[in-house]
Amino acid sequence: MIQTETVPPLSARRAAAPPALRRPGLLGRLLGKPTALISGIFLLAVAVACVAAPWVAPYSSDATDFSATSAGPSAAHLLGTDNLGRDVLSRLLFGGVHTLSSSALAVVVALVLGLPVGMAAGYLGGAWDRVIGWISDGIMALPATIFLLAVLAVFPHNLYAAMLAFGILVAPGLAKVVRSVVLGVRQEQYIDVAKVSGIGDLGIMRRHIVSKLGGAVVVQLTLVMGVSILVESGLDFLGLGPQPPTPTWGTMVSDASQAIHTQPWLLIPTGGTIAVVVLALWFFGDSLRDAVMERWMAPTHRRRATARLSRTTPQLTAPGRRRLHAGDARGTVRRDAEAVFDVQEVTVAFERDGVIQPVVEEVSFSVRPGETVALLGESGCGKSVTARAAFGLLPAGLDVQHGRLRYDGTDYDLQSDTSRLPRGSGISVIFQEPVAALDPTLTVGRILVDSVRRHRGAGRAEAREIALGLLDDVGIHDPDQVLGRYAHELSGGMAQRVCIARALAGQPKVLIADEPTTALDVTVQAGVLELIRERQAETGLAVMLVTHDWGVVADIATQCVVMYAGQVVESATVEELFTSPRHPYTRGLLAANPAGGHPGERLTALPGRVPAPSEWPPGCRFQARCPFATEECAAAAIPLEADNGGRRVRCIRWKETVDVAS
């Protein structure tokens, strides 16, 4: 019956964190929540009324009124009377003292044992941590009630002894929570600083850790109190607690159970009281947890966000010394061919507080058979979102506002029609994290065979043969063996080859590759790109490539679409882009490419960062980082203009600035 609630992962509550500048204290946050306020006041009132029962109760606990036995609620007896005519409300108030105090004992015991043990486990770590973890797992695996019965067999009717034992049994659960908080705090840098500056271990614990623990511990204790009340009243109900006529909540339910044939009403106020008090504790604990989270999240949210930003904002780099080789395997592009994949004016947005905020605006591009179109830009420009919108699988919260896709002669409305898209059979996708993209519970064989059967309608044996062939095609030398492996048994490069094999299982005409080499070792990146190019040469596959890496672009792309702050700012062939970039952003990106630099020269970094969607200025979105920005650039939205050759650029000053730069 031990139920422990652990604090949910931070991410689950992150959304609740307001971007407040001035952070109110925990109490302030708590008082601002109606649930916390109501449940807190209710609990306080119950506790005070029970303690003050001799003064506030309308009758004494054993005063009998034979004129009104087994009566329902009335003005004289608000909650009715029992079979002896005793006032139910008064007995609940008198009985509450016993129930609440013995439950509180369990809470105190759990605190006294669990807090220091959990702190020791979290702070000392190592063997201590393991032993404590083992003990707590062991105790949680046991039915607590039988131990409590053993205690009561030895100390008859002594519920304080039983609840003391219960406190010991739940202490490991509390210790576990404390441990995880301490562990988290310990990894913060300032603890190391404190250590270096010579504050003793105990001093560090007291000053830094204890202050952070408060909230988490109190949350856990409200839950322990709730469970304790349930357990205590259960034992009372069984007649193992104080003997009649002493009232407790549990014995009152037991009395009510004797009268279910004559007076079922009695069950409602007695058991109902227990239920309402435990519910109030739960709600109080829940809002307290929210308040604690908000308090923590306010500073850490920002820190985490920046950490994530710097992790996923890769430098624009070119691995190795790859240079632009114009027209190698790219000779397969048929210039006159119709586009097989034509994305038209896609706008993606999210909604917050009733405001629709676009993150990608009016993006259009097309890919012809055998062609590779690279979607290029820094992180946060909307490349991946555009790609996901194009195959209709946006992450939750993002929606296509409008946009169309023409695939192989058929039109799809990306806002409403995405379920009709020929996913896997016409349009396939490979992802940035190939290992994560493979279901960890399925073998490579299951994944590939299922895919082949789904798209080609083959039988099991035939599908297996095809799967073997696909693995062979993607350069896996022991396909038989690999078919039996799971994702976690594959290296990143191998997993990406498997993903490509899966993507090709449905003989698609379009492959969307979302940063397909970013997560791979530099040594295997070239191999994977070579593989894509090879498959493309053989099948005339149209590839849409999302990347931030000029090296990858130079290696396999034929067309480039440069995105900035949710818009296309330039599109051109790769040759044109490398030799005569027009948009200042494209030029900045190229200049920041270390592979394009020369020894002894300073690398030109692109100053500033991509503005978040909420910070987009009305005029040119690049103006804040652009060396050529004028007042005119800020005045109005800049149109995307196409020249006769089909090159597009979104800059009103590109002609003059190209001259200046060259």
Partner: protein, 314 residues
Amino acid sequence: MTGKIILKRVAFGIPLLFVVSIITFVLVALSPGDAARVLAGPDATQADYESLRQQLGLNDPLPVQYWHWLVGAMHGNLGHSIVNGSDVAQSLNERLGVTLSLVILATIISGVIGILVGSVSAHRGGMLGKIVDVGAIAGFALPHFWIGLILVTLLAVQLRLFPALGYVNLSSSPELWLRSVSLPVLTLVIGGVAGIAKQTRDAMLNGLGAEYTVAHRADGVPERSVVYRHVLRNSASPILAVVGLHFVGTLSGTVLVEQIFGLPGLGSLAVSATNQHDIPVIQGIALYFGILVVLVNLVLDLVYRRLNPKVDVS
């Protein structure tokens, strides 16, 4: 592989059983009275009492007493009841069937319904999700014995659909057996099913946002298959963990439920043994409960191993 898991579970379970039995022994040592005093009765002479102590081995040091109990337990001998002298192992075995009927049925039913409701609410969300949330809070806060009493009042006393009390053996009449365990099992299920549903939903929502799920969808796997085959299978670990915890809670719950419904199982025996200070019986029941927990965790491990190859067996 399977053998390894069994070994690991047993290696974890045996110390657990030791802990259970040692705790109960230490409790006895703390006890102010002793079994000899109870058995001898109030009229016994001091000499009678002393010889009874000698006979019961109560003069030996505690570790020696524990050793004797342990050797006996290994041979299936859990001693004799202080109250009526009956063989503990034998009376426990007679009552085991009742308790097993309850906990196995309750765990399977709440497991199946909880996982079903949880995964559907993860898929569809909306109203069902809110019901799961409310149900989980209610399952936590409402005293289970109270739920049982309300069910008796409504379904047995008012509507007379089920018997309010008593137990019929499965072997003597399956139909009457089912009717006799229905309300107790329903009580246990109501207490835990929403908790399992909530855990299932939370685990599935995690899985629905995972990269492999996007990859399945991108490969044209039908949504139904994505949710109920792939994501569900990947969520097995937290779901089975909560089913295991729920089983432990159900075992505790039988103590109350058997008492309410007058079922002759281990739980109601534990209550009467507590009232009569019958320590050997309590020790025996604690041991049986411990063994059941170890066995159920073993079964859950094996199920999990079948579902997820990545589980660590080292």
